[in-house]
Amino acid sequence: MTWLDANREYVLDMLVQHLRLSVPAILASVLLAVVLGRVAWRWPRAGTVVLGAASLLYSVPALPLLIVIPVLLGIPLRSGLTLIVALAVYGTALLAGTAADAFRSVDPHVREAAEAMGYSRAGVLWRVDLPLAVPVLLSGVRVITVSTVSLVTIGALVGIPSLGNLLTDGFQRDIHAEIVTGVVATMLLAVVLDGLLVVLGRVVTPWRGTVPTGVTT
């Protein structure tokens, strides 16, 4: 605890950096994955190709990806954008399949009923498909949130500051407490973000839980 007391500001600073890298990456992943998942659901043949490519991308190890991205995009290696792009690639690759499953989980009868009631295509998407896809989608978002927060730490290896700096710095200076602080802070951050997602899920699907059990699937 003494190490943490003496370095409170540094840890907080790194925590903020960590958030600045992980949150945009998670948001971009969700956005891209929903679009790709929708495409894969709408056109299954194209979907096989898209999801296949996604799983292939996912098999590229993180650190090499971090080195290849700046060359491809012409951005500096040590820029936060490099890490955000790399993490968004992973998040999207991991979430796209779940997003397709999420759209598949929507009962076609509900969709047909909405169409029969005169909903436009956009109306069906925004007011029927997306809200009903939330539960499955959210389970995937929770997974990528936790893995993204954990993966941000490797940015420290190429010089992109985050809580990962506590791991590399602690290793180089032989301070166990610093590494432990880094690990615990990273895991706590993941747990807090995961909790927020659960709350968000309850807020955007108010009909779940209010319906007597047995009626919902």
Partner: protein
Amino acid sequence: MSLFADALAWIADGAHWGGPGGIDHRILQHLAVTFAAVGVAAVVAVPLGVLIGHTGRGRLVVVALAGAVRAVPTLGLLTLLGLALGIGIEAPLLALVALAFPSLLAGAYAGVESADRAAVDAARSVGMSEWQLVTRVELPLGADVLLGGVRAATLQVVATATLAAYISDTGLGRYLFAGLKARQYDEMLAGALLVAALALLLDLALAALQRASRPSTGKVPS
């Protein structure tokens, strides 16, 4: 794009092959560490997963464990073990074993559990022993899922073995860190491309193995 050409030229350079620091040696080292870690983890995780899948006990432990491990930053595990065990192969190997464990456990458990219950009950009713149920019904039917776990674990380990070079002189990650330190982008990128290629090839090979394990009768009654 000339950076990629430089990196490929670096790989093609005969001076970087052969000898203790050569590319061929590092590839073998990387693969050896990967297989050793997955192998050691599998010896414990697969029987345990099969037991959990067969008896249906301890499921919650598997789910909780898989979730918790995903949240632990691998770099933290590596650096902590590195400090505790010193600069050698032990620390990265131990970290990689820990990393491979949940995927293998989950794969084995889910594989056995995915076996059609009707088939298992039928096998039991014709008088198969519990051991026969596991080896002749559940494992053949669940092989696909089990190998999926092996594939996920291997992929994770081969990727993380790159990070292992941060705390020990192991594998292809060495080029990456050496290049990073000396600001030699060709060496760094060459290391990155080699690891990525190795991971992709390994994944494709395991995917083929997984496909081959599926029942050859064509259709599986659901």
